[in-house]
Symmetry: C2
Amino acid sequence: MKIAVLGGDGFVGWPTCLHMAAKGHEIHIIDNLSRRWVDTELGVQSLTPMDSIQERMRVWRDLGETPLHFHLIDVAGEYERLKSWLGEERPDAIIHFAEQRAAPYSMKSDRHKNYTVSNNVNASHNVLNAMVAVGLDAHLVHLGTMGVYGYSTVGATIPEGYLPVQLKLESGEMAEQEILYPANPGSVYHMTKCLDQLLFQFYAKNDRLRITDLHQGIVWGTHTDQTRRHDQLINRFDYDGDYGTVLNRFLIQAAVDYPLTVHGTGGQTRAFIHIQDSVRCIELALQEPPTAGDRVRIFNQMTETHRVRDLAELVSRLTGARIAYLPNPRKEADENDLVVTNKQFLALGLDPIKLEDGLLNEVVDVAQKYAYRIDRSRIPSVSAWTKERAARIETNPERQKFAVVGGD
Amino acid sequence: MKIAVLGGDGFVGWPTCLHMAAKGHEIHIIDNLSRRWVDTELGVQSLTPMDSIQERMRVWRDLGETPLHFHLIDVAGEYERLKSWLGEERPDAIIHFAEQRAAPYSMKSDRHKNYTVSNNVNASHNVLNAMVAVGLDAHLVHLGTMGVYGYSTVGATIPEGYLPVQLKLESGEMAEQEILYPANPGSVYHMTKCLDQLLFQFYAKNDRLRITDLHQGIVWGTHTDQTRRHDQLINRFDYDGDYGTVLNRFLIQAAVDYPLTVHGTGGQTRAFIHIQDSVRCIELALQEPPTAGDRVRIFNQMTETHRVRDLAELVSRLTGARIAYLPNPRKEADENDLVVTNKQFLALGLDPIKLEDGLLNEVVDVAQKYAYRIDRSRIPSVSAWTKERAARIETNPERQKFAVVGGD
């Protein structure tokens, strides 16, 4: 297959490109390299020394693998170039990662909120609009988030995108309907993924586009079978307070003897997936395209759920690190349950990698190997959801012990 | 009250400004005058001769009324200027009309789709974002559309925004929840209003903004008590295939002896409201602001529902005009029922103007008075929802009788 990977230079995008290229597919990376620019803006860098996209591609080709192609296009900002490219190259599938993907970054300031909304909505809409304009019947696979559900199950398992409900008719009878799960996003970033869902729903209905939306959990780990093949193929590893994700952050905190920063009570339950499973799920989704006219196919791309404090305790037992409980910069429930089904991917043959499979140690090894590159001052999560939350962090006594506040 | 009216130069915006100014409020119109530019783009003009915003304001002031203020700001494109203005002027309320509001225009081409999405989402998000950034606790009243519901009741009355449903818990018990009515937009324009709803939901929850969303039906009529006061205060009256709305279009078609163009079977049921009631509803909504922390308050701003073919027959009986049935450029059900509640506005004292109240004749009078300004070639609705729909219109025999196709 010819596959366009929008955002193919990113944390999940890059290993996805390698995974699919290793299967013999023709991969075209379309990326504006904005994630590298954000590193510059924030004054942080990947824990792992990450080469340029061109150098990564050269190394891959030199290993004798199917070459990758790169096109510097801003999906959100260069509609005409995107459309021309799609019209001329006519890929069989499009994998869409080209969005700003960090909740804390999306809440940093009004500029970051506007950027996240404008970038993400326009990126997704440009892709859909261009597909219709050039009559391209490609399978669009989008990386969404579990966060569209709102991180709470209210006593019912979170289904894969569609919720069966009963509603009362005029006649007094009850009728069953399946509805798109009611959106309840927890940040501006998560909100944009809810907006995406409505874009997809409309274009699947009006234009019969074939769309799969993957509601992904928090990705942990760093290596996949392909990134392990050469030092220069290494994936990015974010540890900073904006882009680092909770489990990976605990592991690097442990590696550099920094307390494991738990926000609030740590009673938040989250869904997780290892990066190797992430790329495998995308491959599985590509093998099962919907038919034109179908509603959007939605998968929950996660393999297990954990409470944040349980993860902290697990990492603490593994490494001896101490845990610090800090005020939560996010506006969310202190404690929530989360029961999620992922039976569609299991049915397609996914054999999940779990936390107990030993890969936590691999991440600790990576963290220790590159610990010399860690700027401890960039570990804290300082982006607060509201002014009230920011003030609570400012005045917290635990903060003094760190000199700077830490968390995720 | 000091009230900012975003989009205060438009079809409902202008009479709203006059209505509220007549009540003694301090009105600040914020508008980029894009609707006037779209007239230029499409090569059409309002049926009524419409003066510049400055001239309209001069006439109003010369009548001895509370002066209006005008600020040329692009709400979607000039975030920093909007934020500065809100931060300095700190209005008590903001009425938000500043969106591209025609479904056919939103479906004309990929450029129009992108413009509608980008303009409308960024406009709404800029307002919310700026309110939070400058700590402005104003009451935001947004003009939404009945179209977010998807024009179908599936046997149950459309509630005011929130739908009570039963869902099955893990335990097997059923639990009742009220959810935002599942979005089912019929065009890119309607889709943007569904996106708006999620923006409002998030900012009401995260930042305790006080927001009212008015799900408006199709507005008919042209005069209000204030626009009647002087010829130069006359409201705009769109008759073209993109911006003209169905009932007003039938009335001008009748006035110039053009067939009443019904799309499909005309079995579509739509919700309607007279423009005088529109401005009255906005006044009522302003009197009932939600409390900080409340969910978004949603009203259905409509007073009656009718099938399109019944309206055509009514106008035909009134005027003797013939009816032409044409292929529908929209992708929608041929026939739908629509039962809508509007009990909140009735409870607040709205005394609805109905079709039978004689105001149809007033519109026919306006149409006849300005019939010399009608360009018959701009009456047809040529914007099709898909290429298939466009082809059906092209090959339709009825089309030949017109030389050009007509509709709404």
